[in-house]
């Protein structure tokens, strides 16, 4: 029983260990502030909402239905593949690819590009925060 408890608490620590570095946390705080300004009832970012943003299909920039998973696939610990060019995309999950979600400028660039590609518009602060909260836990 003790062992099980120990294993459980260890894995809880591992799960909690997935957090943003300082510059990324500062960016998350900015997004939270913006989300609160846009909607006073905003409380916190939510990984479940982020997952829906990431996996749901939308008519994208090319006029075709697609989702983030069209290229990144549903298993973020594995490589994806660019839908247009077949080019391999390194895993998006920070647990499989330590470089992910560490550089604010990179993150902002890809959120801008990929929201445009999949949603054919920019993402709101709430959407960006939610999707990053989902991704950091992968």
């Amino acid at each position: 029983m003790k062992k099980i408890f120990l294993t459980l608490s260890c894995s809880a620590v591992v799960l909690l260990a997935q957090e943003f570095n300082a510059p990324m946390q500062a960016y998350m705080n900015e997004l939270a502030k913006e989300a609160k300004t846009q909607n006073a009832s905003f409380e916190r970012f939510d990984a479940k909402r982020g997952e829906r943003i990431f996996t749901s299909k939308h008519v994208g920039k090319k006029g075709q239905e697609m989702a983030c998973t069209s290229c990144h696939t549903v298993n973020l610990k594995q490589s994806g593949s660019n839908l247009n060019t077949n080019k391999t995309i390194a895993p998006l999950a920070p647990s499989a690819n330590k470089a992910r979600l560490t550089d604010v400028a990179e993150v902002q660039k890809w959120l801008r590009r990929n929201f445009n590609d999949v949603y054919h518009r920019e993402g709101s602060a709430l959407e960006k925060g939610d999707v990053l909260t989902y991704l950091i836990n992968q």
């Binding site: 660019n82 247009n84 060019t85 080019k87």
Partner: protein
């Protein structure tokens, strides 16, 4: 004089070997070749590159926008190394695959070999040109998926 001879030899051998200089700019590799094959700047003429770089928000249907600083650095790199040979002559578009020479060189390839999932389109140089990354487009290094060597 020696230099001139050496220059001529290199130029002639490059033309024969169907080679272009490697795309060795780190920023270009990071920003452009992370999504698609890193087309060597010499595959498109300067006016073509200006068209490409002038509309990265809608880059062949995809948002490939860059910060101003990165945009300017890459524009300088691609235009300074742009093509100026039979490869790019007469191409008034921003598509490498619209150059008259390119069209002529690919005219005999059956559609089914281009449309197949392993290739997708003539934009995927490296699908058949096994040494495309090194700028080598010579016929002896062509292997078409589900077909084989093209000689």
């Amino acid at each position: 004089m020696r230099r001139i001879i050496l220059g001529c030899v290199i130029l002639v051998s490059m033309t024969w070997a169907k080679s272009v200089p490697v795309a060795n700019d780190a920023l270009y590799q990071k920003e452009c070749a992370s999504c698609h094959f890193g087309y060597q700047p010499a595959l498109l003429n300067a006016s073509g590159w200006q068209k490409v770089m002038g509309n990265l928000q809608d880059h062949f249907g995809t948002d490939a926008s860059l910060s101003q600083k990165e945009h300017d650095a890459i524009l300088t790199y691609v235009t300074q190394n742009a093509g100026n040979s039979k490869l790019t002559q007469g191409n008034t578009t921003m598509r490498i695959s619209q150059s008259p020479y390119f069209i002529k060189e690919h005219r005999r390839i059956p559609e089914r070999l281009i449309d197949q999932p392993e290739v997708k389109s003539l934009s995927q140089c490296a699908a058949c040109h096994t040494k495309a990354e090194q700028g080598d487009y010579s016929e002896r290094n062509i292997v078409i998926p589900n077909y084989g060597r093209w000689e």
